[in-house]
């Protein structure tokens, strides 16, 4: 899941829910906050390093808003009804149109969150280090014992284990052991 904060500001509940759903399923990104009301959104506009999806009307109504957001290092994407409802002079990071097809929207969103999508796609192969950790854990070694045998820190073992579980979609030690035995990693 994303660590970056994503905020949607739009008066339409359909747009809010639809965008949140698309972000989740296309990019595995969850929306931190959805706001329908401009007044309510004011405190949120003080945030830094946030990805904003904002109704284009709000930017048109308030000239300073865009500058203010960009100034704080935020990314700003507009949600516009059509090309006429945006100001071409605004150097926003991108525009989503209500009339965009599913494929167009997905393409735009994937471009915004490329690394997250990429990680998800290449997540299946274990690295050789992870395989070594898997072997030791499957043989019944504790995290501490595994760390000692590989001369790495306990923290590193735990982080390897997390990645192994995520990549294999197996959560328990007994499940990992079964997986390792079936794959002839241990005898």
């Amino acid at each position: 899941m994303n660590k970056q904060r994503v905020v949607v500001v739009h008066s339409s509940a359909i747009v809010q829910k639809g965008l949140a759903d698309l972000l989740l399923h296309t990019c595995n990104v969850s929306v931190s906050q959805s706001i329908s009301d401009y007044a309510e959104a004011k405190p949120v506009f003080r945030l830094k390093k946030t990805i904003f999806f904002i109704a284009s009307q709000l930017i048109l109504q308030d000239n300073n808003l865009f500058t203010q957001l960009k100034h704080k290092g935020n990314s700003v994407y507009l949600i516009a009804d059509n090309a006429e409802s945006t100001n071409p002079g605004i150097p926003c990071d991108g525009i989503l149109f209500i009339a965009d097809s599913l494929a167009e929207i997905q393409k735009k969103l994937s471009a915004i969150f490329p690394t997250i999508l990429k990680n998800k796609l290449v997540a299946s192969e274990l690295t050789s280090r992870e395989t070594e950790v898997l072997k030791l854990v499957a043989q019944g070694n504790s995290n501490k014992e595994t760390a000692d045998q590989l001369s790495i820190s306990l923290h590193t073992v735990i982080s390897h284990r997390k990645n192994i579980c995520r990549k294999l979609e197996i959560k328990t030690t007994s499940g990992l052991t079964l997986y390792a035995v079936i794959n002839n990693l241990i005898i």
Binding site: I170, S174, G175, Y179, I182
Partner: protein, 228 residues
């Protein structure tokens, strides 16, 4: 949201998975045009708890208030759920696994998966047995206000929640491993049935644990605290 004035046939029609929940209250299909309220009173079921339990199973978003469910009704329901797991679900999964192993007796992974399943079953049975012989009687006793307990409330909360996560994760691992390693020569219908059954059981366990972790245990904690 399921309400008392809805027809039972509509409720079942909309979510067929509720049948096994209804069975635990002694209700079977063949419900005619009767409403939930009528059926509930004919079967001597306490309406408010019945509605809360059905709605919890029916929708992830629904969550009953603490007072919605009578603790005795809930404990009885959970006990019948255990019986269903032990007498129906587990033997069914076991039979399907045996059937698959019989089809490819030389397949080592399948034999190992079977062994994993037996270990899992043993663990689940011990867990259920603990709840039946210690936890539930304790709760019933506390509700009757007759108990003398020395244990700290956190003890129960931690123990039960930890075991639930373990029981759910191990089952989910079984499913993942079957999906990855089922040998190509097994009968696909039995293999599908096995995967459907495990997935359904996975969902059931999640719902079941929601009742225990979110209603039963908090209730126990409140009761314990008021007595200390």
């Amino acid at each position: 949201m399921i309400t008392e004035s809805m027809k039972m046939s509509d409720i079942i029609g909309k979510n067929i998975l509720l049948i096994s929940v209804l069975n635990r209250f002694g209700i079977k299909p063949g419900v005619g045009e009767k409403t939930l309220k009528t059926i509930s009173s004919q079967n001597g079921i306490e309406l408010k708890s019945f509605l809360a339990i059905l709605n919890t199973y029916n929708s992830k978003e629904y969550f009953p208030e603490n007072d919605d469910v009578d603790i005795n009704v809930l404990v009885n329901f959970l006990k019948r759920t255990h019986v269903y797991y032990l007498n129906y679900t587990l033997p069914r999964i076991e039979n399907l696994l045996r059937q698959l192993s019989a089809e490819c007796p030389e397949n080592k992974p399948l034999a190992m998966i079977e062994q994993y399943y037996f270990d899992y079953k043993k663990q689940l049975t011990i867990h259920i047995d603990y709840e039946e012989t210690e936890l539930f009687p304790l709760i019933v006793e506390i509700v009757k206000k007759q108990s003398k307990i020395s244990e700290n409330a956190d003890y129960y909360s931690d123990k039960i929640q930890h075991e639930h996560v373990n029981v759910e994760d191990k089952l989910s691992d079984l499913k993942t491993i079957l999906i990855k390693f089922l040998p190509a020569e097994v009968n696909e219908n039995s293999a599908n049935e096995l995967l459907f059954e495990i997935s359904r059981f996975e969902q059931e366990l999640l719902d079941h644990a929601r009742f225990e972790d979110k209603i039963l245990i908090p209730k126990l904690i409140i009761l314990l605290q008021t007595r200390q």
